[in-house]
Subunit: 193 residues, 4 copies
Amino acid sequence: MVGTVKPRRRQARGERRMAQLLDAAEEVFAAGGFSAATTNAIAATAGVSPGTLYQFFPNKESMATALADRYVAALAAAHDPDARVDGVPLDDVIDRMVDPAIGIAGDHRAFEAMFRAHPCRQLRAAVTDNVDRTIAARVPELDPGRRRLVATVVVKIIGAVLPDILAASGRAEAELTAELKRVLRAYLLDVSD
Amino acid sequence: MVGTVKPRRRQARGERRMAQLLDAAEEVFAAGGFSAATTNAIAATAGVSPGTLYQFFPNKESMATALADRYVAALAAAHDPDARVDGVPLDDVIDRMVDPAIGIAGDHRAFEAMFRAHPCRQLRAAVTDNVDRTIAARVPELDPGRRRLVATVVVKIIGAVLPDILAASGRAEAELTAELKRVLRAYLLDVSD
Amino acid sequence: MVGTVKPRRRQARGERRMAQLLDAAEEVFAAGGFSAATTNAIAATAGVSPGTLYQFFPNKESMATALADRYVAALAAAHDPDARVDGVPLDDVIDRMVDPAIGIAGDHRAFEAMFRAHPCRQLRAAVTDNVDRTIAARVPELDPGRRRLVATVVVKIIGAVLPDILAASGRAEAELTAELKRVLRAYLLDVSD
Amino acid sequence: MVGTVKPRRRQARGERRMAQLLDAAEEVFAAGGFSAATTNAIAATAGVSPGTLYQFFPNKESMATALADRYVAALAAAHDPDARVDGVPLDDVIDRMVDPAIGIAGDHRAFEAMFRAHPCRQLRAAVTDNVDRTIAARVPELDPGRRRLVATVVVKIIGAVLPDILAASGRAEAELTAELKRVLRAYLLDVSD
DNA sequence: GATGAATGAGAGTTCATTCAT
DNA sequence: CATGAATGAACTCTCATTCAT
């Protein structure tokens, strides 16, 4: 009777620990990027010992990918790629691509770092998929291969400007964001032809 | 007359070593980026002892900036930003911006890494200046502040796509390059309005 | 009840290691002084890896100050500065100042080295405090400012002669010690006037 | 004919170089003590290359001893130990011991450092000899063995207080100096009995 | 599970000294 | 004589990971 409950408790506790550790990892990765981050620092930030960290994650990389998974989920929640876009103006489509990116990156302090980190391929893939599908909805006649290429480029462009947007604030932030959207609109208009 | 040459002799050996060390640094930086690079590895690659390296460079950072200086020079040689562009078609202007970048990055294996490395602000600045001046020649009526912003964004875009272009080859490389140029053309056309 | 003991276990090992490391540091500092000492040598002497040393001490300096703390404690145990001295003959007072110093320095091989080491201000301060208070008890009418000066000078004198006393042995040691006491007695007699 | 002159020229130049190097060594030793000093720093301060330094001095130690020799000479010039002292008051004798010490140490920035440096035994010996002879003149009936001991102790006392005197200034300097003289007067009075 | 002690290779850098020029 | 390039062992300190408790 008790035995059937305990394992759940344990699992629950374990997942709480993992979340705790990922929170800590987020903080540390955000501060100095993936490779500058220290597993000891992560453990300390989480308030546990290094040994405990390695009970849940086999190595540093796995923490990055786990954190990236979190972001993939947040992305899925924030940005529904299958939303109707064929009727809406292009500017709105672009807003729907850019604004959630800025929002998520703003909310999740290590988003940028993970986006760049080698072990987080999945995150880049997920973002690219989203964009790809959005483009597909907007320009259905586009060849899928070409579309993938366009999506990749769009993601790279967003990824390149995003850090500066996040670092800026006020007018500078708005200007940069507007410029980013201008680039994407011009590009996607060209692609649509 | 002879006296002015003699002192050079000694410096000549030193300058050869510096070049040698920078070559080695280029190789090592290219392989794993700035922070993963090891001064010992650089020295070993150059075939000298660690102490020799430090006779010419006070620290690891200084090697990166020195290497970046090389690239700035190569850039200046490859891409004359004051060349007439007001009469030529936009596509040609873009070719003149993108092709030398690809060329230099292809020739100098650590260009990318240095472009991203923190200590190499100058390189990013130089590239941005070049683009800024090119835009100025093409769209003279553009407000300088706005122009700087556009140049910054253009450089970020090129910097974001460049690694993939360099990593690719054959058809993929050509496609990516074409796509990059398309982005820039669309953007600059929009800016020109 | 048991819970309060358990956590100690782990710290116990650590504190044993710290003591071990300080013992090793004592040996190494004694051999060549603070700055000539090597953290690797200390670790090796303690039979541990360099990393272990840095788990307990953030740097070389901290080992010196920790060692000095040990000596401050030993000093406090050996030399009670508030003991009655106003009734006893001056010679006895001086014995009580000098003999514990020689004793401690003899027992703790790095006492001298730490006494001179820059990071061990505390040790010099503690020794000076002791002497200051002893003088205060013996010559209560002395102005505190002047007394501090006298104490400082007394400590410097002891510190200057001590190394030779420790290095000597037999008759030479006794002679030097006697001479040191003579200096102090003459000085303090003069001060008492 | 010319040949007989040249070697002198060379020697003269050589001695100028040596003096130059010793001046530099003085500065560098004064700044951080013997062991912290760097032969490269000395060479640089002298405005020559490291190789040149090693043409005149076989190693770092030899620079210290050569510098100490300078100080021995300065000492001999400043403090004539065979001057009549038997008729003069003790205070004057002590002034003649202490003031030149302070003077020389003030004039020659590395005096202190050399006084403490291991390789400069001679300097300590010379100072001790001077004091020994001064005591001999003042207290001729003292047993030479005992006198040597007293001289040694006197020198140690001066050496212990000197750094603080030099570091201080104004009232503090005067107070310390007075205190030092008080110690020595009390001690020598005691010894004279 | 959790702890924190332990590891050890290796990081960047220094420096007394030597040697080719 | 003078130069400055060259050496290389050694230094302080770090960190991903493991292991005994």
